[in-house]
């Protein structure tokens, strides 16, 4: 996907003015947050499961080569193929090759963030293949020519009205009537996509978990499109990444309990399927070919780095849903595949920190994301690390550098600090006196402080600094000095 992370500030500002987006994110926020709380409270030892998730992932990462090879061995033994791709271009070459060999024309897709990362759709379309997204949210944004704005609910930013307009524009030429209500919209999409399910040559899905012990790929949906995409066409390709592997079924059971709860507040999704290769001997349906494309794209380099914890991510989206910044600006402002807290950690690593410096900075470090992460990723610490790496590379903004250096120079000299604070305090008090009667507790305009005062009053002190006053009080009451 095209990298637009350098556009964060203007994109965020624009997003804040979009009232439709505000309504949509409000709905999403209350939907995801409240339902998640209900089902995690009900699982009385959810905290233990979170620790379990963290520990299993850490163990797997510490032995990643072993588990990947075991996974590959077991997939191959069942008649499947495992392909290793260093980056997105290579993944696309592999996929194109498979499609060519299969003489494909039409390709259907279940939701796969890895395929977004690699830009697979565009690569396929450039070679003349027709690619149809089957997840309803992905289908909607495909019609709109947009990118997903959430890792679980790609069209969360779209209002019903926007969807009906899209359907009208694209479905009317096919002979469909305009629809306005939720059920009718879904029905129309169902009808159209059913035709595609039944006529596609290749189905590409993501893979939520890769089970090493059995060589299974776990795909989790509520719509069932993942299953239709994989059992109807003659070729099934899974686009996934190397850190998705887990040891065995026992681990899978634990992760299933964590994922649906954290993602959508369900105790389980409607469809969880484990795929173990292509059609067996006497099967009367199922794909003839089964391929797993393992994408690296920089992940193997994160291993052993200070950012390794982000590789535990199971892509549940809970951090997005609980992030007050994400829910204010939506996902597009982040400029790439992964938005919100996990995106702000992962994106600078994968696309280059110089391009994406605003992402780790657009955070108050409030920690709500970390408190809901099912695998206990310390997101605020990782964001702070990015800031630290930006400083080391000399990439922090110059205004910030100057202000911070000035502040630091003062703070190191407490006596001078005290004096200058008293001066600043006096200046603020004088400014506040310029206000109208009844408003002298605050300042509405202050040179150099417009970032604050453009939307807020600045509370003004009404007496000197505490340290000055305390000293005076001490002197006058002869308190003992320590």
């Amino acid at each position: 996907m095209e990298v637009l992370t350098h556009n964060f500030k203007p994109a965020a500002k624009k997003a804040l003015l979009d009232q439709d987006l505000r309504a949509a994110m409000g709905r999403a926020e209350s939907g995801f947050v409240d339902t998640r709380k209900k089902v995690t409270d009900e699982l009385l030892n959810f905290e233990e499961f979170r620790s379990f998730g963290r520990d299993v992932k850490n163990h797997t990462l510490a032995n990643l080569d072993y588990y990947l090879e075991l996974f590959e061995k077991n997939v191959t033994a069942q008649g499947g193929h495992v392909h290793w791709a260093k980056n997105g271009e290579e993944a696309n070459r592999i996929i194109l090759d498979i499609c060519k060999q299969a003489d494909a024309r039409k390709i259907i897709k279940g939701k796969s963030m890895v395929s977004e990362e690699a830009g697979t759709n565009a690569a396929l379309e450039r070679q003349g293949y027709k690619v149809i997204e089957t997840d309803l949210g992905e289908y909607i944004i495909q019609l709109a020519g947009e990118t997903p704005s959430h890792i679980i609910a790609p069209a969360v930013h779209k209002s019903k009205k926007a969807v009906t307009e899209l359907f009208d524009r694209y479905h009317a030429p096919m002979g469909y009537e305009p629809v306005t209500e939720h059920e009718a919209i879904v029905n129309q999409a169902r009808q159209i996509l059913r035709d595609h399910f039944c006529s596609a040559d290749v189905g590409i899905t993501g893979g939520n978990f890769l089970v090493a012990e059995t060589g299974s790929v776990a795909i989790i949906t509520n719509e069932g499109n993942g299953d239709l995409t994989s059992c109807l066409p003659k070729v099934h390709i899974v686009t996934t990444s190397i850190e998705k592997v887990i040891p065995d079924m026992e681990a899978l059971g634990g992760f299933l309990r964590l994922l649906a709860r954290s993602a959508t507040g369900q105790i389980t999704s409607v469809y969880t399927t484990l795929f173990n290769g292509p059609k067996r001997d006497k099967d009367i349906d199922g794909p003839e070919e089964f391929h797993v494309v393992l994408l690296d794209n920089g992940r193997s380099e994160i291993l052993g780095s200070e950012y390794q914890d982000i590789l535990r991510c199971i892509r549940c989206g809970a951090c997005l849903n609980h992030c007050p910044v994400y829910t204010s600006i939506g996902g597009h402002a982040y400029g790439w595949v992964y938005p919100g807290p996990m995106g702000s950690v992962l994106t600078p690593i994968l696309v280059g920190r110089e391009n994406a410096g605003d992402l780790p900075n657009a955070c108050t470090l409030n920690g709500r994301c970390a408190s809901v992460c099912p695998v206990k990723i310390p997101l605020p610490s990782l964001l702070r690390k990015h800031r630290s790496d930006l400083v080391k590379a000399g990439s922090q903004g110059s205004a910030q550098k100057v202000t911070l250096s000035f502040w630091y120079a003062l703070a190191r000299r407490p006596v001078l600090y005290g004096v200058l604070m008293r001066v600043f305090n006096t200046v603020l008090r004088l400014f506040s006196q310029l206000g109208k009667a009844g408003q002298r507790g605050r300042i509405q305009n202050l040179p150099g402080a417009s970032a604050w005062t453009s939307s807020r009053d600045l509370p003004a002190p009404d007496k000197s600094t505490f340290q000055a006053l305390w000293k005076t009080a001490k002197v006058s009451s002869n308190r003992s000095v320590k």
Binding site: Q396, A411, R412, A451, S455
Partner: protein, 274 residues
């Protein structure tokens, strides 16, 4: 150090915090008074900044220098108490992280961390004030509220993120307010959601910050509160500043000011003529 109730005493180094020092000394005066009433001697060593702005901006070098200075200023005291969750969390949680490769400083920072507390955390969790016999030694109850607002005040509370998530501060200020002023908080649905201050965040991303504080204020307004309390002055200045700009009459105070015996009419950014 004994942690028996009622019999703990010693000397406290009051960690004033930059914003309180510059903008609202009454918070620190209230805190000092509250601690003195419990039987401690309170000192205010010469201090500047704990380094949090540098730390959150990613400048660990500058942070370490300021941290060492702070440790030297404060380690002579039995306890260090701050009327701020984020500032005390900086010392308690993050100072030790800074000195991974300097074992001596690491030890000193850990020792200081173990004696550093947020104000309500110190009073409730360490001194166990009021929990045994229901009698908080504060200065006379509702002295903090302006006369006009006693009786029919609706009071709500904003949980600052650092204090909440790094130190687990949620029940302690509420407990203090209940014991000390008979105040019951009318909870807002979003008391735990970030108000958008975030230190430099609010000036680096002012539009996003404004949206976040507006969301917070929606929660305040839903409770019909005429008083908002909290434990971190940065958050409170942010919310109060926006409330005033919107023409709201809701008054904003630090919870310590309700218990410290000062008669504070104005509230943060408040008008002098009530």
């Amino acid at each position: 150090m004994s942690s028996d109730t009622q019999t703990v005493s010693g000397n406290i180094g009051l960690f004033v915090t930059c914003l309180v020092d510059l903008f609202r000394p009454s918070v620190a005066f209230s805190a000092a008074r509250l601690l003195e009433i419990q039987g401690f001697s309170v000192s205010v060593p010469l201090q500047s900044c704990c380094g949090q702005p540098a730390y959150n901006s990613g400048d660990e070098g500058k942070t370490r220098v300021l941290a060492k200075q702070f440790i030297e200023q404060f380690e002579k005291f039995d306890y260090v108490v701050a009327p701020s969750g984020s500032c005390s969390a900086m010392v308690k949680i993050h100072y030790p992280d800074l000195f991974d490769s300097e074992p001596d400083w690491h030890k000193r920072s850990q020792q200081l961390a173990s004696r550093t507390f947020e104000l309500s955390e110190f009073l409730i969790d360490v001194l166990k004030v009021g929990l045994s016999d229901g009698d908080v030694k504060t200065s006379n109850g509702l002295a903090g509220l302006p006369d006009k607002l006693r009786g029919d005040s609706v009071i709500t509370y904003h949980d600052s993120c650092s204090g909440l998530r790094e130190l687990g501060i949620r029940s302690q200020p509420r407990e203090l307010l209940k014991q000390g002023c008979g105040v019951e908080i009318n909870e807002m649905s979003n008391s735990e959601i970030c108000c958008g201050f975030g230190g430099t965040f609010c000036v680096k991303f002012p539009e996003i910050s404004t949206r976040m504080v507006d969301n917070k204020i929606e929660g305040v307004v839903e409770t019909d509160a005429n008083i908002l309390l909290g434990g971190d002055l940065g958050c409170l200045m942010n919310i109060a500043g926006r409330l005033k700009r919107m023409g709201s009459k809701t008054r904003v105070y630090h919870y310590a000011e309700m218990l410290g015996g000062d008669s504070v009419d104005d509230g943060i950014a408040g008008e002098k003529d009530v």
